[in-house]
């Protein structure tokens, strides 16, 4: 059986000359939840849009279920479902009317739509509200309806572009449960993009870190975390005279499993350990006891995908730190501003 998605050397340059995706290749297996992790304007949405046929690739070969998307676009569209980053629900129609139209646009018969919409709306806990205008729905409900709509034609592969963007923590967790159930109950292949580390960590079997159109790393979340090394012990010392406990720090640095010590601006020290940071803590205590340095606080930090991201891109992934240019890029890619 062919893989669900195969991408070879995909490049996408927009008409205005913006290079959105720069020669990327990857494969997604059947039944896998695969995540693209990266900031706004990294090329995540562009990759999805090329895969479902909304955009034409500038270069590259793309296969869905082993079928070249350039050759049979109609077949690809029927095999895939897509929920865009911005929830596209017509709020002047009811829940049922929205999903009914979606079914019709996928050429299902009225009977099929009625049966399947009942099924998906029940799964997403919207069945009781099916005859309400969607203008009365909350953000989380709209997102659920949007994903439910993407399932009406029973796709084998589901593309979710930022499925939990702008939702509160509780709603986000609910959406995660739905996504997990889709894979468990129906064996669906799911390709999602996110800029939430936690989301990629909790949901994805494999994650690709994408930045400025390039894939910087691709592996299981645990493997990615392991690549950047082990745990971090965060310690705060208080010497009696308020000076820096040089002697004690030197001794800690000398311990065999310690890779290095970084002083932080807030006065804490990050002690980077190869592995098993918890076993190092007693050793630190005994060194400090001998040197007459008292420990104010000590904690253990396991590496997160945040750290992984920082490691592979050299940047922190925070929206407010994105440059103005990155924002404009992101907006051009979403087609919100004119290119000419």
């Amino acid at each position: 059986m062919p893989s669900a998605i195969e991408v070879y050397n995909l490049t996408k340059i927009y008409r205005g000359g913006v290079l959105a995706v720069d020669d990327i290749s990857f494969t997604v297996e059947r039944g896998e939840i695969f995540g693209f992790l990266g900031p706004n304007g990294a090329g995540k949405s562009t990759t999805i849009k090329v895969l479902i046929g909304l955009l034409k690739p500038t270069k590259g070969r793309l296969l869905i279920n082993g079928v070249d998307i350039a050759k049979r676009p109609g077949e690809i569209k029927r095999a895939t479902g897509y929920a865009a980053q911005e929830t596209a629900i017509d709020d002047r129609l009811t829940c049922m009317e929205n999903i009914y139209l979606q079914g019709r646009f996928y050429h299902l018969s009225k009977r099929e739509i009625l049966a399947r919409s009942a099924e998906v709306l029940k799964m997403f806990d919207l069945y009781d509200r099916r005859n309400d205008l969607t203008a009365t729905f909350s953000g989380g409900m709209l997102k659920r309806l949007d994903i439910a709509e993407a399932l009406i034609h029973r796709p084998q592969i589901l593309f979710l572009d930022e499925p939990t963007l702008g939702l509160d923590v509780q709603t986000r967790k609910t959406i995660w449960e739905y996504i997990k159930r889709l894979r468990e109950e129906q064996g669906m292949t799911i390709f999602l993009t996110t800029h939430y580390m936690e989301e990629a960590d909790v949901l994805c079997d494999r994650v690709a870190i994408i930045d400025r159109g390039k894939i910087k790393a691709l592996d299981r979340p645990e493997a990615l975390k392991a690549q950047i090394g082990g745990d971090i012990v965060i310690a705060r010392f208080s010497a009696l005279d308020g000076s820096i406990p040089q002697e004690a720090l030197e001794a800690i640095r000398g311990l065999p499993q310690v890779r290095g010590i970084e002083p932080k601006r807030d006065g804490a020290y990050w002690i980077v350990v190869n592995q098993d940071g918890d076993k190092l803590i007693p050793a630190i205590f005994s060194i400090c006891g001998q040197a007459g340095v008292s420990i104010e606080s000590i904690s253990l930090k396991k590496p997160s995908l945040d750290d992984v991201y920082l490691h592979f891109t050299g940047r922190e992934m925070r929206e407010e730190e994105a440059s103005a240019e990155a924002h404009i890029r992101a907006r051009i890619m979403r087609g919100r501003i004119r290119r000419r």
């Binding site: 909304l54 569209k77 865009a84 929830t87 017509d90 002047r92 139209l101 019709r104 087609g335």
Partner: protein, 261 residues
């Protein structure tokens, strides 16, 4: 082909559902022609009491003269909403959703045009009923009225095609509305929809003669006032049909181009 038809219908169905759901809009769009006919028609009644102007108008009932103008004006403004709805769909992301579905691309502009056409037809029928109640006698009877509705529908296609073509490159509602007003109002007032050619200064009459609105007014006015005057009806119908087909093709082509990247 069967999919093109069904896709077009469901794109239109969505618009119609919203048209009938927005009660206020529905009521206003039906009251508007009443206001025009009742007030404007009464105000101008003085014109027809003068035998010279009555001759220029071709009737002693200004209301009857004006009804074709009101029909086209209503359809004109209705047709323009085809483009507005595309701009709106782009805003809320619905357009992308349509494009991601395996529907025929042409179904999107065609569906919007069909919706404008059906909405226009409903409004035209309402105007004809109101005008009849106000004493306008349609000389050609039910068959003529059917043809009037058909011409109005074709005319609506020209306008919705134009606005769809514009909306392909215009991303904000305000700009589109400004351009549309810039086009539609002069189009209306440089035609013979509300005033007879004979009463216009020569330069205006020259513009009015080539104005597509006048081509639609001609047959509708003949059907209302004089009868089956084929010499007027056929050329007007021909031009309107030609322009409607052209608008259909242009809108489809431009839409196709604007949504391929």
């Amino acid at each position: 082909m069967i999919y093109l038809l069904s896709d077009t219908w469901f794109v239109a169905w969505r618009e119609l559902l919203k048209f009938f759901r927005a009660r206020v809009r529905l009521v206003v769009s039906l009251i508007q022609p009443v206001v025009w006919l009742a007030f404007m028609g009464n105000m101008m009644r003085g014109l027809t009491s003068n035998p010279v102007t009555a001759k220029a108008l071709g009737t002693e009932n200004y209301l009857a003269f004006m009804t074709p103008g009101i029909i086209l004006m209503t359809v004109l403004f209705g047709g323009v909403f085809g483009g507005v709805s595309i701009v709106w769909d782009r805003r809320i992301g619905y357009l992308e959703k349509l494009l991601a579905a395996p529907i025929s691309r042409g179904a999107i502009p065609f569906g919007k045009m069909l919706a404008a056409m059906i909405q226009g037809a409903i409004q035209v029928v309402a105007i004809i009923i109101i005008a009849s109640l106000l004493g306008v006698r349609f000389q050609t009877g039910p068959a003529g009225i059917a043809l009037i509705v058909l011409i109005a529908m074709l005319f609506s296609t020209i306008l919705s095609g134009l606005s769809l073509a514009l909306s392909a490159s215009i991303k904000t509602m305000e700009t589109l509305m400004a351009i549309v007003n810039f086009v539609t109002l002069p189009l209306m007032f440089t035609s013979n929809a509300l005033f007879p050619l004979a009463a216009m200064p020569p330069w205006l009459a020259a513009i009015a003669k080539v104005n597509p609105v006048s081509y639609a007014v001609g047959p509708i006015r003949a059907l209302t006032l004089t009868g089956w005057n084929w010499e007027v009806i056929l050329p007007g119908l021909g031009v309107i049909l030609g322009l409607a087909l052209l608008a259909l093709l242009v809108a489809q082509y431009i839409f196709q181009r604007a949504t391929t990247e």
